[in-house]
Subunit: 80 residues, 2 copies
């Protein structure tokens, strides 16, 4: 089963990568861009076939390794 | 208008970050993970109100700055 985990900086946490992208886009002449935030997306191919169990395991993976929950939010996306 | 750009390594391109995550998950005892790929997600807040124009601009941003199209694929996600 293919799963996707989105990890984004929490609101209020500084995002220097996002700021750098915003300035670079402005320097290239792209106007009207208010905010830019950069996050990560991790695509995993799991042996699990049960979506419920896969979500539980992914949640544990996020809390233990993939996301820094002090400064990052995560969102798990499983095929419908 | 909020938009999201997903940038992932093309199939066949080595992804050392993904491999590192895969090994770290295995070391933590998470079994049955076949492949892991890591990509980026960029969230932009645009002044554009026309989705067609926003998509055209985002496509140009991806080609000129956000993605390295030699080794990366990008996907633009706009609110429905």
């Amino acid at each position: 089963m293919k799963a996707r985990v989105h990890i984004t900086p929490k609101a209020g946490v500084l995002d220097p990568q996002g700021k750098a992208i915003q300035h670079a886009l402005a320097a290239l002449g792209f106007a009207g861009i208010d905010t830019v935030r950069q996050g990560k997306v991790i695509e995993l191919d799991l042996a699990d076939t049960d979506p419920g169990r896969a979500r539980t395991r992914l949640d544990e993976m996020c809390r233990r390794l993939l996301a820094n929950t002090v400064i990052e939010d995560y969102r798990i996306e499983l095929p419908a």
